[in-house]
Symmetry: D2
Subunit: 343 residues, 4 copies
């Protein structure tokens, strides 16, 4: 068993990591760290974990000494020093935050108002969209776990863009996220009576995940891709469903569908649905699956790609564990065989 540590264990993504790693056959949780709740038991903060995780939350000091792999789920800017310490000790570092996702420092400055402390360190980081970058992930030292929206968008569009099934121009991504994506911090917007029975977009055309989405899609397409990205907040706890609009070109939907199925054949966590079915949050909740469905509007020549993930699992902690599995040579599905509950 390797030893795993989590920095930021009491945030939602951190807790989901705890939950998944608690059932992992190859890793044991060795350090759970939290600034806000240091000295408290994790099960005091989250009584759901009573008898499961009653250990005290600690500081992250020296986590790179006691752990073989360190996960961080922190506000942007705070991962870089921990990554540096892990790199110095040769520990695998998996960052669920945004610090290592963007290759361009100027984009990072623009969207996150930060800078790269150590440019070499950033160059060494691998963007861990598992299905896309398995080879690079094997043996990586720093893995930037993708954002939730970018995971949903990239898995949905990858075959279309990399196989050239559709035009790469004018892509619209209309995404809807569950509330856990907004985190544990209290806001008026996520106060129960003001979100319940409500629905609204936010940061339309101005969300930080836009450059990350474009960075990945551009690599997939082999050309510069720009997207219009509008996220919405859904009154559900978990999940991201992205409805994506592309110019279909002349290809038949059935051909595109067949190409998608072929492309993802053998992928454990990507399910291309039968024609006529729709991806739905309820079918991926609590699991590491990404469901993809394909549709068309024949009279406008539009391809409609719908992808659904659990934002906390495939969009955060699940993919992080998948990255660990790949990097350390474990069975890629180890600890990740959760079946979505359907209800």
């Amino acid at each position: 068993m390797i030893k795993a540590g989590i920095v930021g264990a009491t945030g939602y993504a951190g807790l989901e990591l705890v939950r998944i790693l608690s059932g992992h056959p190859e890793a044991e949780l060795s350090v759970l760290s939290s600034v806000s709740f240091e000295g408290k038991r994790l099960s005091d903060v989250y009584p759901a974990l009573l008898h499961v995780r009653d250990e005290e939350l600690s500081s992250s000091d020296g986590i790179e000494d006691s752990c073989d792999v360190v996960f961080a789920s922190l506000p942007h800017g705070l991962s870089q020093p921990i990554a540096a310490r892990c790199a110095a000790k040769g520990r695998l570092f998996i960052d669920l935050g945004a610090d290592f996702r963007l290759e361009s420092e100027s984009e990072y400055e623009k969207w996150y108002n930060g800078s790269f402390d150590d440019k070499e360190l950033h160059k060494s980081a691998v963007y861990g969209l598992c299905e896309l970058s398995r080879k690079k992930i094997k043996g990586a030292g720093i893995i930037a776990n993708p954002g939730c929206y970018p995971t949903s968008a990239a898995l949905g569009l990858w075959p279309a863009l990399s196989l050239g099934l559709c035009g790469a121009e004018g892509i619209i991504i209309d995404a809807k996220s569950g509330v856990t994506g907004a985190g544990r911090a209290l806001t008026q917007n996520t106060h129960y009576p003001e979100l319940n029975e409500g629905f609204s977009p936010y940061k339309a055309g101005a969300h930080r995940h836009t450059p990350e989405i474009e960075q990945t899609l551009s690599k997939m397409a082999g050309t510069d891709v720009k997207v219009t990205f509008v996220p919405h907040l859904l009154p559900v706890n978990r999940g991201i469903l992205s409805t994506m609009y592309l110019q279909k070109g002349g290809r038949a939907l059935s051909d595109i569908h067949a190409a998608y199925r072929d492309f993802y054949k053998g992928e454990l966590f990507v399910r291309v649905l039968e024609n006529g079915r729709y991806a739905d949050l309820k079918n991926v909740r609590m699991s590491n699956y990404c469901d993809i469905s394909l549709h068309e509007d024949p009279h406008t020549g539009t391809l409609i790609v719908v992808s659904a993930i659990d934002n906390m699992v495939k969009g955060a902690a699940g993919q992080a564990v998948q990255n660990m599995n790949i990097a350390l040579g474990f069975d890629e599905a180890a600890g990740l065989q959760m079946i979505p509950p359907a209800f």
Copy 2:
């Protein structure tokens, strides 16, 4: 007081009509008709209306004799004979169903698999998007109350298209509806445990409201408009929020915003939000308002128009009453001054 009758009073739109008309200063409910529940009291079917509407549900036979205005909320195909009877008696007929919405019989055949029983009657019908067609509605005999999605889309896009603020090509309408839009009939999809915490599109690129939307937008734009329309089912009871994507062209967002404000100045039920605000279902629920917010993605040149209505009110019963008010010369807001509850 005029006498009003409702055919299909126990469907969701029918009941909402009952609720609104029960507080109307100029109309009294005279006949409540239901095929499924004839002979029962309305308050037996909906105990919420106990002591409010305890009268027995009747047949619709002779409703054109006893009522000055007849509303019908029926599956498509069933309104035509009632409309004919009302027309023969000179009664105002307001159809909340689809029978009179499409001008083209071939489109009606294609999407609804029906035909126009009496082509002259259809020609006489007025499409009752209140803000657009006030003049025609005054004095109309048959009013086709617009569909919920079309109302939301048309009010959101009208200034952009009629003033030529944006291109009319390649419009994407990504719409999300509350569950009441699916009606009272039981389906597995709307069974509580299977919808709760779920979210999914349906009939992508293939929904019956597409031709109705295009018919209205084409008139507004003065040119043939095609849209890609994808509806989704939200786990909330009420409301439609449409996120609409247009090519912005060179105009500044602030100019477009000013034009929208000017365009809708004086409209009681359309609220163009301040820049930076987002239309949200929670702010229009239980009211006749349509909220519109405008956003842009500058790096792709996309204008994003968001409109929100209560599908049962402005998208159905509220607009029907507004149509009655216009047609019969009442204060247009009579009976419709419900304030959205905010929580």
Copy 3:
């Protein structure tokens, strides 16, 4: 039109007052006061009220000069000075908070950790459970609007206790409230992802509404009544449903039911349901109704009384307006004829 002022207009009960009074035929809103948002427009705080209430929120200074009736919806302890100012000017003061509900100062000290600033003022206050105290409310200067749980409990048990239909010993009140009851302030418990799909009791046997409930029930029974009261937090926005257990004694359920019906005959806002029906939050939401249903467990001799109200309406703002109507001699239902929407 009389002039009404609201102190604490941006809390949930305050806003609900705004909403109800905006449609009142005899009163106009003259002052909307808020400490937290003074100088902002109410519609900035609650965009649902855009175009309805765009006036600026003011201070409450001098509200007793400019208004005929002043409503206060404030944390306990803060109403007393405003009440004193209103009393000095002869203005009607209706307190939605707890300052004037308890007759016993020692109980007030025990449960609210406060004292009565002016004992004479407290003696002059009338406990405004409308149906119970109509006569006293007419002409009252200070009205203590009952708490939400006490309203639900007292209306449900009044006939049983005052007619001696049941024993007054060992009454259990298991109550469930929507989240608006917890107010607008942010807490981890009411953060959407942590309340959604959850359910739990709180303050079991230790809630501040217990002495208020017992004070009212004791008057109704003509003897000292003690109750076990356990509230729960429901993942819905509005409503309180109380399930209450009493020792039935020898009387038949049908007799008790008949007595309840007779007792509440003519009451506009209390609906005693037919035998076999169950009170349900959905049937009273957004209305001033209290629905009551009666059931029994014959094998244990238990009478089960279920009462349902909207905590924001009959449990707060609606009852406050009803109190104003009674006190000032308006039609008791003025402004309160909202029909519950059923969905």
Copy 4:
């Protein structure tokens, strides 16, 4: 690996069994049977299980030949013949339905309108409340898996009754269940728009689980126990929370709490919370835990016991698997170590 079969695999409890057994280390799912969907793939009925369970649903004919253990989740009356076939072949039969729960045939007749086909078979059945009856379950041939409400009530009251901590008279059980408890069949009550934001009791004092609860509590108390049981339907998918009221007698709450902790020491799936904490559905969802919290109303001398389970897991499929584990000598927690997700 033993072979397991499920009769009624497409009901909610059946599907939950599929989900749990799919991850069981000692059992493999060999037969999935369904009358309604025979010939279809399970993943066609529940797309959540795509790639997980794509096998065809079969008939239950001969299931006793091919399986070592047979689970049945069927409407009452239908399990008896399958149990007889399993018994004849010496297969373990675990019934999630009601056919074998009641020892008294007359009670079964009264509440379920059925009879015992084979009285000897009924005598051989063991009531499988795991913590209570471990010894009998080991080696049992027919196990009656307890109902969801009875599990919640019995685990919550067992220490109090068996240790004589409280009086056994006048017990009130006010229980609240998630909607999955009502099953997959469509009803108006569970149609999304009519349940959402609603809340109501049902079958007050008249629910079929009453005799089952009393049968178990009477054994625990060593005396005849009668309870008043009122279930409610919560607008959440999963979980049962029971609030139970007992006469506390002279014992201090802290003593009762200590006795509960001691009583359940070493139990894997029962968590007695610290004083001051409240059992909450959110902390047991998707897990096999039963959380219990203890409270008191000192001024009425009432002990308040709150227990929370996931109705689909500890209240159905989880306990069924726990029963299999005990009966067949597996690790009792095998396949059941799901951690509740907290959000």
